[in-house]
């Protein structure tokens, strides 16, 4: 999901160059699609069916990613105002308003190139009710076919056979026919399996990268840096050779950092001293991404694990796409996305991260826009505190509405939180 602002490019690592190239090529393809009529599918990150789309040679467009990129590029304020002018209330998810505003402004994507219109709106994750409404709006805009994959919620953290079958049946009977109709191609399971095999290879390396943060010092920041690392696999590249190469290179680079005992790469260069290790729950704020990150690095805080880097797939529990069961494993993937998990599973996961990654504590960034994430977070905070005995902190901001980022307030809370950790360590000394 990187763009020219990617702060991690300071390292000039091979993986970063590759990611940049991959993204540039993808947006070139999308720009060309407007003219050559290549089929495009708009879809969302959680539960994305990238391998299936690629098996039909369809190009994915991800409105959420475009919205967060608009936030990072300082465009979201203007886009949100445009949507509000049209009557979208202040309480509507700001990703949606940002996307609507971008459409009104000519649908120019993050690279400055025009995005193609969708031939199909594929809603493959229903844990977020807003997604349904979002695509209803886009259907009005584009007057194109819409397909919905209903993904049952995982209330108790288990996927039953009937849940899996329910999703597979929809894939077979609704999604695949819609893609066949859009592209004029027949479903090719062998090709899908090849893509899924590559996905699994990339996923293996991604997990190694994320788990490298168990080392002290952590060679990566698994939240601010993490969003760049998950970029390719969460978006349009899962199942591609590019993604396999990217994660292989990234893993090698990170392992080298571990060998050298180096801390993470940060926008200012490298973090010299790891003073605090924290786990973070919730998405980052995108409009003040660097400022937000700097509030952590200024205090010597490294995020060693985050739940946001699991929204496009939870892999560190052992799940891998399985080429021998293509549709079943796609179904399991959709069912297993982080925000499709119930609160007990999320509490388990956070508690495990705090312990496994030897974190001093955990922080929740509660965003105004996203109920899927934010509901129940205070309850989670208390529960994780109780289970781990490590203190939790709570900050509030938003995804892409800059009006909801109060730097003084957030900095105040973060400083207080880190000083609190410091106090605890010193056992009340000074």
């Amino acid at each position: 999901m990187t763009d020219n602002d990617n702060p991690l490019t300071v390292s000039k690592d091979l993986s970063q160059d590759r990611q940049k190239r991959m993204i540039a090529d993808h947006f070139d393809r999308l720009e060309a699609a407007s003219e050559n009529g290549a089929p495009c599918v708009y879809t969302f990150v959680p539960g994305n069916l990238t391998e299936l789309l690629l098996s039909f040679d369809a190009l994915p467009v991800l409105p959420e990613i475009n919205a967060l990129q608009s936030g990072m590029r300082g465009k979201s304020k203007e886009y949100i105002s445009l949507a509000e002018k049209e009557g979208h209330s202040e309480d509507v998810c700001t990703y949606v308003k940002c996307d609507i505003g971008m459409k009104r402004s000519g649908n120019i994507g993050p690279t400055g190139q025009k995005l193609p219109d969708p031939g199909l709106l594929l809603l493959s994750y229903t844990g977020c009710f807003t997604f349904l409404k979002w695509f209803e709006l886009l259907r009005e805009e584009y007057d194109c076919p819409t397909t919905m994959l209903h993904v049952p919620y995982q209330p108790d953290g288990t996927i039953t056979d009937s849940m899996r079958k329910y999703v597979v049946d929809q894939l077979r009977n609704k999604v695949i026919p819609a893609l066949e109709k859009l592209t004029g191609r027949a479903y090719d399971e062998e090709r899908l399996s090849e893509l899924l095999a590559r996905s699994a290879r990339a996923e293996e390396d991604l997990v190694a990268v994320l788990e490298s943060a168990k080392h002290t010092p952590s060679p990566i920041d698994a939240y601010f840096g993490g969003v760049y690392y998950v970029g390719p696999i969460f978006t349009s590249f899962r199942g591609t050779e590019d993604a396999v190469d990217y994660y292989r290179e990234l893993r090698a680079e990170v392992e080298e950092r571990v060998r050298l005992g180096k801390g993470p790469i940060i926008p200012e260069g490298e973090l010299d001293e790891e003073k605090y290790r924290v786990v973070v729950e919730g998405p980052p704020n995108w409009t003040h991404f660097r400022e937000f990150w700097k509030m952590f690095t200024d205090e010597g805080a490294v995020v060693v694990a985050s739940t946001y880097t699991k929204v496009g797939g939870v892999y560190d529990n052992g799940f891998r796409h399985d080429p021998s069961r293509p549709l079943e494993s796609l179904a399991e993937y959709c069912l297993g996305c982080y925000t499709n998990l119930g609160l007990p599973s999320r509490v388990d996961m956070l508690s495990r991260y705090v312990q496994d990654y030897n974190a001093d504590g955990f922080l929740i960034n509660s965003v105004k826009s996203c109920n899927s994430f934010s509901s129940g977070q205070l309850l989670m905070l208390r529960e994780v505190e109780q289970r781990t005995g490590r203190p939790g902190g709570f900050i509030e901001s938003d995804l892409v509405d800059p009006r909801y980022f109060s730097a003084a307030n957030i900095k105040n809370r973060l400083e207080s939180y880190f000083q609190m950790l410091d106090q605890k360590r010193k056992g009340g000394g000074r």
């Binding site: 205070l378 203190p391 105040n412 207080s416 609190m420 605890k424």
Partner: protein, 431 residues
């Protein structure tokens, strides 16, 4: 005396607390935060040093065998005389600044005469202002002088003088300069002896005691700053603590049994849980919006043309509190006018508003982990009796019987916590 100091730079007031080498509180100082934080810090520190020196005077009198009651009366009279001298000193600065303004504005003779007349009257009123039975609504020069100046200006223009706005505008412009001239307030050394000489019945031992206080060296060995403006404090990074930690430790020092702290300040509300050592274990604070904070009461007071301290007692007269949900500071005026126009009583509206503020605080308390025994309420709003009543009632309803602590010095809680951090730091450095 070697001392440690904590300074709490709040949005409304800046506080300083001085501890001696044994960690005992020796002096407290407060000033309005004004537009210049550096000056506010300097003034608050000077005020705390003044308090230290007064305590030296008291101790010196005791050593000279002066009876306790007499001691207290002498120190009280000396303090009043001191404040009077200080006020006079600030009036001189105000006169200079206004004189300069009149000149630069090429004011006509009528206006000049009117303004100088007002300032002269203020000068002659000073004695009475600091008389034995006098009460002042504020200790800050801006408020005391402002209130007198504006009253006199109103009378002057009513009697055919220049328009009120022109006169008031001069004061508004001048007061910023006066406040940002740190020397305007002056320290103990500037006015103490003068004050002793101007007292009605000084005892012979007093002058010696004042001289002893003057000769006592004050040496700062450590300092910690806190508060919203802490990044601007003249301290390096290692000497800055978050106000949440400072409030937790300060509340613990005042009431060692404290487990939950509620602080309602000018623009934020904090709910803090502390352990048996005063170390913060969890906290919540209001997010982007200052609804329901002290500033809200400030707007309401302005809107009702009342002093901030008058709101609580008026609200306590209510028998049928209005049901109010909104605590939006921006809409406070509209809400109030709307209800007044519907015929609701001022005290009922005010009681409803106080309850609404506390309801908001209750939500933060719940989110931070609830209210545990003992519960300490701090910050400027803790001085408002109607807010305290509402809080006590709601805490009892929701959490049962809990000891509610409110210190008369609660406004200094953050500064005290900061001072304790400074003191511990100094002690560690020595060890």
């Amino acid at each position: 005396m070697r001392y440690s100091v904590g300074i709490d730079l709040g949005s409304t007031t800046t506080k300083a607390v001085i501890l001696d080498e044994e960690g005992r509180v020796r002096g407290r100082g407060i000033t309005n935060s004004r537009s210049n934080y550096d000056v506010a810090c300097e003034v608050a520190l000077t005020e705390a040093q003044i308090a230290v020196r007064f305590s030296v005077v008291e101790a010196a009198l005791a050593r000279r065998g002066v009876a306790a009651e007499r001691q207290a009366a002498q120190v009280e009279a000396l303090q009043r005389a001191f404040r009077e001298q200080q006020y006079r000193g600030e009036l001189v600065v105000l006169k200079d600044v206004i004189g300069g303004l009149l000149e630069s504005l090429h004011a006509d003779t009528e206006q000049t005469r009117a303004v100088l007349g007002i300032l002269d009257t203020m000068d002659t009123e000073t004695r009475e202002l600091y008389g034995p039975k006098s009460t002042r609504k504020s200790d800050f020069f801006r408020d005391i002088a402002g209130s007198r100046y504006l009253t006199l200006a109103e009378a002057c223009s009513r009697d055919g003088g220049p328009p009120f706005e022109a006169l008031a505008g001069l004061f508004d412009k001048a007061i910023l300069d006066v406040e940002n001239t740190p020397s305007a307030e002056g320290g103990f050394e500037t006015f103490a002896l003068d004050a002793a000489h101007h007292m009605d019945e000084p005892i012979p031992e007093l002058e010696d005691a004042v001289n002893e206080a003057l000769a006592t060296p004050l040496e700062q060995i450590s300092s910690v700053g806190t508060g919203y403006g802490r990044a601007r404090l003249p301290f390096d990074e290692g000497h800055i603590r978050s106000e949440i930690l400072c409030h937790g430790l300060g509340a613990h020092a005042m009431f060692p049994g404290t487990r939950t702290v509620l602080d309602i300040g000018g623009q934020d509300t904090k709910a803090i849980q502390v352990d048996g050592e005063g170390i913060v274990t969890s906290f919540q604070m209001n997010d982007r919006c200052a609804a329901g904070c002290g500033r809200y009461l400030g707007y309401i007071a302005d809107e009702m043309n009342l002093g901030l301290h008058e709101l609580g007692p008026l609200a306590q007269q209510s028998h049928r509190p209005a049901r109010i949900n909104s605590t939006c500071t921006v809409f406070a005026g509209a809400e109030l006018r709307d209800r007044l126009s519907l015929g609701e009583k001022r005290e009922d509206i005010l009681a409803g508003l106080h309850r609404a503020i506390i309801l908001r605080a209750m939500s933060l308390l719940a989110r931070s982990g609830g209210v545990s025994d003992e519960f300490t309420f701090t910050g400027g709003v803790a001085r408002n009796p109607a807010a305290v009543d509402a809080l006590a009632g709601l805490v009892k309803d929701n959490y049962g019987d809990v000891t509610l602590n409110i210190s008369p010095d609660s406004i200094y809680t953050g500064a005290l916590g900061a001072a304790l951090y400074a003191w511990r730091g100094a002690a560690l450095a020595v060890a």
